[in-house]
Structure formats: structure tokens, C-alpha cells
């Protein structure tokens, strides 16, 4: 059983991972690259502001480097503080001195590899759960359609639910503590998946109430918020485009991952 699940998941993961990489090349990646130009401009502006050590006014160079609009009443020192935090955060994480793939083909290759690995991981979960469902008598048959619905449940659990509190972000977006956000993200995905499973496989009223409570709870508790007074470096329009592109890519990815998982697992069920 383990080998047939792994084999299915690897095939499904490679196909879906390549498909999602192609979708990203025209969807999310150009938006990420475009946001990074604002991000590096923002960091440069911050350094300048610190060198000047003047909290009263933002040097004109910063305004030029970061072309975003301010409300008329925004205090200039707030702006400088915001960038101080932002650039500080980045120094510790992605723009450190550590290795990173070079832009262009190398970066695209690493992204594709990461996509395929992620897809194999998610496919293992889907195929494993499909197998549990059929063995436990929760599902009568496995076919592409069963797989599709499992995939859509996955899309709801790891994309739709977490993005209510933590929307897909472009580089240079302000955000709360990374560890806290990861814990919230994972808890939300698990609680939502459990809620959907209860709704799908249990028919009593109590389970339905528990399911809705499970799905709602992470949002009642609330996702870690970005610090006050900070704002994204990229324009709002770019951010919105990114959310749409990421969500649509994920929808197609999960539909493909689910239905292919169902199709391959059906072959193995039939062969057994």
C-alpha cells in the first residue's frame, strides 16, 4: 500500500508541480519580481534615512526611491520608523548574506523544484487520505471525482482559510512575527481540514456544529497582525493582482492534484 501511494504521489506531484510552475511564470512570479524592485528601493531609502538620523523629516531621496502615496495627514516620522522596522526585519531573513539562487534561469529552476516537492508532499497527503477513506469505509469508490473533491477540500484548508487572516503577500509587505504566523497558519489549515472532514463524513447535528466551530475558531482568535504604522512597499494594485493570481493558481493546482490522485489511486485499487 505504501509503495503504491508513494508512486501515485510522485507521478501526480511531478505533473502538477510542472503545471503550477508554468502558471506561476505568467502569473505570480512577474508580480513578485516587480514588488522586489520596490522592496530594494525601500531598503536603500531606509539606510539613507538612518544615516541622516533625523526623525523629523524624510529625506527627499526616500520619497523618490519609494513611489507610494501618503495620506495628507501622515506624520513623516512615522514613515521613517516604519521603514526602520521593515528593513531591520529583512536584514535578518531573506536579504542576508546567505546563498540565494541567481535571478533568471537558476531562480526559476529552484522555484520549479520547490513547486514539485511541495506538490509531491501535498499529493502524498491526498493519496494517503484517499486510501484511509476507502479502507475506513468513508468513501465507496475512488475515482477522479472523489479525488477532485478531496483536492478542493485541500484548497479550502491550505489556501482559502489561511488567506482570510494572512493573505498571500508580496515581498516587502509588513507582517507580524514569523513563528507566530506559521503556527497560526498551520493551526488554521488543520482545524479547517478537520471541520470539512466532519461535514463530509458525519451526518449528525452535533458534528456539524463542531465543524463550523472548528472552521471559525482560528479567525475568532485572529491571525498575528502586522505592526502599527507600517505599510507595504509595493502599490496596493500590485498586491491585489498578486492575491488573485495566487488564489487562481492554487485552485487549478488543487483541482489537478486531486483529480489526478483519484485517477491513479483508482488504478491501484483496481489492481489490488
Amino acid at each position: 500500500m505504501f509503495r503504491s501511494i508513494v508512486f501515485s504521489a510522485v507521478v501526480v506531484g511531478i505533473v502538477s508541480g510542472i503545471a503550477v510552475s508554468l502558471m506561476q511564470m505568467v502569473g505570480t512570479t512577474p508580480l513578485i519580481l516587480s514588488a522586489e524592485t520596490y522592496e530594494s528601493a525601500g531598503s536603500a531609502g531606509h539606510d539613507h534615512a538612518q544615516a541622516a538620523a533625523a526623525p523629523v523629516a524624510v529625506p527627499p531621496a526616500t520619497e523618490k526611491a519609494v513611489p507610494h502615496v501618503h495620506a495628507a495627514g501622515t506624520a513623516p516620522h512615522e514613515h521613517a520608523d516604519g521603514h526602520g522596522q521593515e528593513a531591520h526585519d529583512h536584514g535578518g531573513h531573506d536579504h542576508g548574506d546567505g546563498w540565494a539562487p541567481a535571478d533568471g534561469l537558476e531562480r526559476l529552476s529552484y522555484t520549479a523544484a520547490a513547486n514539485i516537492l511541495t506538490a509531491i508532499g501535498y499529493a502524498l497527503v491526498l493519496c494517503g487520505l484517499l486510501s484511509v477513506a476507502i479502507q475506513g469505509g468513508l468513501a465507496k469508490t475512488i475515482d477522479w471525482r472523489t479525488g477532485l473533491f478531496f483536492g478542493l477540500a485541500g484548497f479550502s484548508s491550505v489556501m482559502l482559510a489561511p488567506m482570510v487572516g494572512l493573505p498571500p503577500e508580496l515581498p516587502g509587505s509588513p507582517a507580524g512575527d514569523l513563528g507566530a504566523r506559521q503556527i497560526w497558519w498551520l493551526s488554521t489549515a488543520f482545524a479547517t481540514a478537520l471541520g470539512i472532514a466532519l461535514l463530509a463524513f458525519r451526518r449528525d447535528g452535533f458534528s456539524a456544529v463542531a465543524a463550523i466551530a472548528l472552521i471559525a475558531a482560528p479567525h475568532v482568535i485572529g491571525a498575528p497582525l502586522p505592526p502599527d504604522g507600517e505599510h507595504a512597499l509595493a502599490p496596493l494594485g500590485l498586491e491585489r493582482q498578486f492575491i488573485v493570481a495566487a488564489t487562481l493558481t492554487s485552485l487549478v493546482f488543487w483541482a489537478l492534484l486531486g483529480s489526478l490522485s483519484g485517477l491513479l489511486m483508482k488504478r491501484f485499487e483496481a489492481a489490488r
Binding site: D94, Q135, G136, P168, E169, S250
Partner: protein
């Protein structure tokens, strides 16, 4: 005899169930490594994947 057969059948079934659960756990481990590892090289290599999947990043 019939009891023995049934015990063997149950254990084969639970082994098969366990294998399916183990496969799912392995999948979660892989996603966790690619999407949630704090190691800088892993973060930088999987950067665009993390952003596109709305994994918390930075």
C-alpha cells in the same frame, strides 16, 4: 482456524491503514520542510513557491 484467519485479516488491514497514514505524514513533513523551514538557504531557494502558496514568509 476461522478466528486465526480473521485475526490475520484484521492485522493486514490495520497495517495497510497505518501505511496510508504514514504516507500522509511523510507528505506533511515534505511540505513543512519546503514551506516552513527557517534555514536561510531553503527559504531563498523556495522563496517564490512560498509566496505563491501564501506560506508565511520573511
Amino acid at each position: 482456524m476461522s478466528i486465526q484467519t480473521s485475526v490475520a485479516g484484521t492485522s493486514a488491514k490495520s497495517t495497510s491503514m497505518l501505511q496510508a497514514v504514514f504516507a500522509a505524514a511523510l507528505g506533511l513533513f515534505i511540505v513543512g520542510f519546503v514551506g516552513f523551514s527557517h534555514a536561510e538557504a531553503v527559504h531563498n531557494a523556495a522563496h517564490d513557491t512560498r509566496h505563491a502558496n501564501a506560506f508565511p514568509c520573511h
